[in-house]
């Protein structure tokens, strides 16, 4: 693709750049506006938003790759081509922006979900489970490596878009009830918990009093 004077590093870092631009917008404008409209944008709904944006970003990627194949002088073997296709690098921007949206919706909310929904003394563990899904997904992604080559790249993105769509529908279906109960779950009182040693100490004390 044609760089057109843009430093390569800017394009490589479009993801953090998009996040730096859009996190304040979501924080100060978008979420407050949604709340003003009276819509209860629960964490599970935000995560669904994340699935949708991630899917759209794969659709954009598939379209983009299709046009690269069409415009490249080497056709479907664009990656090894001497001459770049006549497309500006900025054409990738929508994919990065959509994936940044999906991170704001699903990744930030997931961390928050781990914090607010776990027992107060097990927050780190549940946050760890959240990150584990990321690592696990990287392992699954290895299965797609054979597709990540010319001329199959369009199909790679289409396949993942379809998988994400199925994931979204499944997620929505599975957690309908949980989503309805969200506010009640947030209001659960903090449980009383003693470690073994604390329980033993308390027991000894009460025996001594008798």
């Amino acid at each position: 693709m044609k760089l057109g004077g843009v430093p390569n590093d800017i394009v490589h870092n479009l993801n953090p750049i998009a996040l730096l631009i859009f996190i304040p917008i979501f924080d100060k404008v978008f979420y407050p506006q949604i709340a003003r409209w009276g819509f209860n944008f629960t964490p599970l709904k935000k995560i669904q938003g994340g699935f949708i944006c991630a899917m759209l970003s794969m659709v954009v990627a598939a379209l983009l790759q299709h046009f690269i194949y069409v415009k490249s002088p080497c056709g479907e073997f664009a990656s090894d081509c001497e001459e770049p296709p006549n497309l500006t690098v900025w054409a990738q921007t929508p994919a990065y922006i959509l994936i940044a949206f999906s991170e704001i919706f699903a990744s930030i909310t997931g961390l928050e979900y781990a914090y607010t929904k776990s027992p107060k003394n097990m927050r780190s563990l549940v946050t760890g489970v959240f990150w584990f899904t990321h690592a696990f997904s990287s392992a699954i992604a290895q299965a797609f490596v054979p597709l990540a080559t010319d001329p199959l790249l369009v199909w790679l993105y289409v396949t993942i878009a379809i998988l994400t769509f199925i994931g979204w529908v499944g997620f929505w279906w599975t957690f309908r009830a949980l989503d309805r109960d969200n506010d009640a779950l947030d209001k659960l009182p903090e449980g009383g918990y003693q470690s073994n040693s604390a329980a033993l100490a308390a027991k000894t004390e009460s025996v001594e009093k008798v």
């Binding site: 304040p24 899917m55 794969m58 992604a141 994931g167 918990y193």
Partner: protein, 241 residues
């Protein structure tokens, strides 16, 4: 819990950062791999602990919602749930400022000087991290680690599932996903409470909610797939630049 594990994570990362300094274009692959594995362990522990630690700082000062009176006389309800969302938004923002600064500076350090500098820079910065944390630790709100909590949570889940298994998988599924599953495991519903149950009914509800949260996370690997691919769009297209 967070601070204890985070310290261990820090030490591991520092240990990992030392071999990674050794990695120059002629360096041994072995030391790089060991460094990477140790680094992975450190980051794994660190990441799991840092975000709850950050959010707990806020929660400790404002455990409940309150009403703030603006200078204009307007009364504003400060909701802890919304504020925690904000804390997480800003935390994520900070990570990405770091990611951007790091990636750009490392690329230029590598381009003009060499790999050793681009690994050394983050290492130097990282050494400041435990110093800062130790120096400021008396200002942090810390929750002491409760060693046996994970074991008890699993034991509780096992206890709740007892007698719910059946040869018929559909029936097992129905039993295990029934809302009443946890009721039978609440200490107040048991005539002879086993000695290891050193918690109350409310904690059982908390564990139940935590297990649900983990079930929510079971779906996330599908979400991370496109996330990983977006990074490779540029890979595939850029190498043709």
């Amino acid at each position: 819990m967070a601070i204890g594990l985070a310290t261990v994570g820090h030490i591991l990362i520092i240990v990992a950062a030392i071999p990674s300094v050794l990695v120059n274009p002629n360096g041994a692959l072995g030391s790089f791999i060991i460094g990477l594995v140790l680094f992975g362990c450190g980051v794994g522990l660190f990441k799991a602990c840092i975000s709850p630690l950050v959010a707990e700082q806020y929660e400790a000062s404002h455990p409940r919602g309150y009403i703030r009176v603006e200078p204009s006389g307007e009364r504003v309800i400060v909701d802890p749930g919304i504020t925690i969302s904000r804390v997480y938004m800003r935390y994520y923002m900070m990570i990405n400022i770091g990611a951007l600064a790091g990636q750009i500076s490392m690329v230029y350090a590598e381009k003009y000087v060499g790999f050793w500098l681009s690994y050394l820079l983050p290492t130097i910065l990282f050494v400041f991290c435990p110093i800062l944390m130790l120096g400021l630790s008396k200002h942090y709100v810390k929750k002491p680690p409760q060693g046996d909590v994970v074991g008890k949570a699993f034991r509780l889940y096992g206890f709740a599932m007892r007698g719910q298994w059946s040869l018929n998988p559909v029936r097992t599924w129905k039993n295990l996903s029934s809302p009443d599953l946890w009721e039978g495991a609440k200490p107040s519903h048991l005539e002879n409470k086993p000695g290891w149950m050193t918690f109350d009914d409310a904690w059982v509800d908390e564990v139940k909610r935590g297990v649900k949260a983990c079930q929510v996370f079971l779906w996330l690997p599908i979400f991370w797939l496109p996330y990983g691919q977006v990074r490779s769009i540029s890979r595939a297209t850029f190498y043709s630049c």
